[in-house]
């Protein structure tokens, strides 16, 4: 049997508009298209693109460990690949950012001798920079998954931008209904951040909009109020840098740089 081919693509956050032409061609041309997207408009659009389109969302179940759901998704994606088909799997945002089954499917397909690749997509982080007018080149950017940030006590520099993802699911490893999975996790996060930032340090809750006519959510609030704020699974916490950074004179000298007036 001839080896199959797997292409993982991203649909971005806004239906159709943030999908690359390359990704579009793979989704249209696939003999089997799987998808896992976050809004009904993209679902409708994908079904129109390719009649074989099949959602992977039913792999989730209340109380089920997400890792098991992802394992099921991987196997469903690989089944037609093993049968020699041209398979495309589309995930919203960037298919390789904060997505477990996509990476695993590519790795497993390659191990089994199939051609597999991932195409880049527009991630929530890309939308964040555009919507909030932030440039990671200004002060640098530290980006962590919120649970990972807390559990492993990630070291970070408060003088640099800090972005924490999935703040609505802190400490939860299963799938749950509802838009916020853990208020307690939020409180723990605030407690930890308060060691480095003042209570009145302004933070932002950001949510990219899936619809072209709806603005993104960009709520500014003091850190101390975060634990009581309306946070959802789509919320990302943006913590601006604390204060101005000074250049190190020795390093300037080493690099042959001189600050000009």
């Amino acid at each position: 049997m001839r080896p199959g081919r797997l292409t993982i693509v991203g649909t971005g956050f806004v239906a159709a508009g943030q999908t690359t032409l390359e990704a579009l061609s793979y989704m249209q041309g696939a003999s089997k298209l799987f998808y896992l997207v976050s809004d009904p408009v993209t679902t409708h659009w994908l079904r129109g693109l390719n009649p074989t389109a099949e959602s992977l969302a039913d792999a989730y179940a209340n109380g089920r460990p997400r890792e098991k759901s992802y394992e099921q998704m991987v196997e469903r994606i690989l089944a037609p690949v093993r049968a020699g088909e041209e398979v495309c799997a589309a995930f919203y945002g960037h298919p390789g950012v904060f997505v477990d089954p996509s990476h695993e499917a590519v790795a497993r397909a390659r191990r089994e001798g199939h051609a597999a690749r991932m195409l880049p997509g527009i991630s929530a982080e890309d939308c964040l920079y555009a919507d909030l007018g932030l440039d990671p080149g200004e002060n640098g950017c530290q980006s962590f998954e919120a649970t990972d940030f807390l559990v492993h006590r990630r070291r970070f520099d408060p003088r640099s931008l800090l972005v924490l993802w999935q703040i609505g699911a802190i400490g939860v490893l299963t799938f749950r209904p509802g838009s916020l999975w853990s208020r307690k996790g939020l409180r723990v996060l605030v407690e930890e951040l308060s060691r480095r930032y003042r209570p009145n340090h302004e933070v932002l809750i950001y949510e990219a909009s899936p619809f072209p006519v709806c603005p993104p959510r960009m709520e500014r609030l003091p850190l101390s109020r975060l634990a009581r704020a309306a946070v959802t699974l789509a919320s990302t916490l943006v913590v601006p840098p604390t204060r101005e950074v000074r250049s190190d004179p020795d390093m300037l000298e080493k690099l042959g740089l001189e600050p000009s007036e």
Partner: protein, 202 residues
């Protein structure tokens, strides 16, 4: 069928700039042209993503990455981390009043690519502290308190670079002062006067 029409319309709005601008100028007119019914129009005109999503009906599937939780055996090093983190916290405390935001002169980089110019802030403390090393050298443990200050780092660097042979004793006395500072010094030493070290040891 109505909701599918709305979904189609939203798809076009994100791929057709002309339609988008027409909608922004005259939402009611654009929605009427698209044949949206009253319920569609109300949902769309709300401009509320959550409301629109609820109206469209299909439950979205959020991908939530499962954090990899390490075994507890990894936990002990975490206890040591706070001590490492301290210098990072303390550094910003040096609040110098001078606000100088000069941009580096980058004449050499003239590639067609977009090169972000890092903003070079004025040095926090000017380097006139040549007398400090003499004061700090005899005190073995004092530098530990002053560790977060940049001046300490600078002084050490200068002595290591300029007086590698003369200050051999002083350096050994300073070693326990600040971990981060010594690391920096070691790196710079390796880069330049690699031969000087063994000379000291012998």
């Amino acid at each position: 069928m109505g909701k599918q029409q709305l979904a189609d319309f939203l798809t076009k709005l994100s791929t057709d700039a002309a339609l988008r601008s027409r909608y922004e100028r005259d939402p009611a007119g654009a929605m009427a042209e698209a044949g949206l019914d009253t319920a569609d129009r109300i949902a769309l005109a709300s401009g509320d993503a959550n409301r629109l999503e609820a109206y469209l009906g299909e439950k979205p599937a959020s991908i939530i990455k499962a954090a990899i939780i390490q075994e507890p055996s990894v936990a002990p090093p975490i206890v040591q981390q706070p001590s490492i983190q301290k210098p990072i916290i303390q550094k910003p405390i040096i609040q110098q009043p001078a606000v100088k935001k000069p941009i580096i002169q980058q004449p050499a980089i003239k590639s067609p690519a977009i090169i972000k110019e890092p903003i070079i802030q004025a040095p926090a403390i000017k380097p006139p502290a040549k007398k400090k090393p003499a004061k700090k050298a005899p005190a073995k443990k004092k530098p530990a308190k002053k560790a977060p200050k940049k001046s300490t780092t600078r002084i050490i660097k200068k002595t290591t670079v300029k007086k590698p042979k003369k200050t051999a004793k002083k350096k050994s006395a300073r070693k326990p002062a600040k971990k981060t500072a010594t690391r920096i010094i070691k790196r710079s030493k390796v880069a330049k006067p690699a031969k000087k070290r063994p000379a000291r040891k012998k």
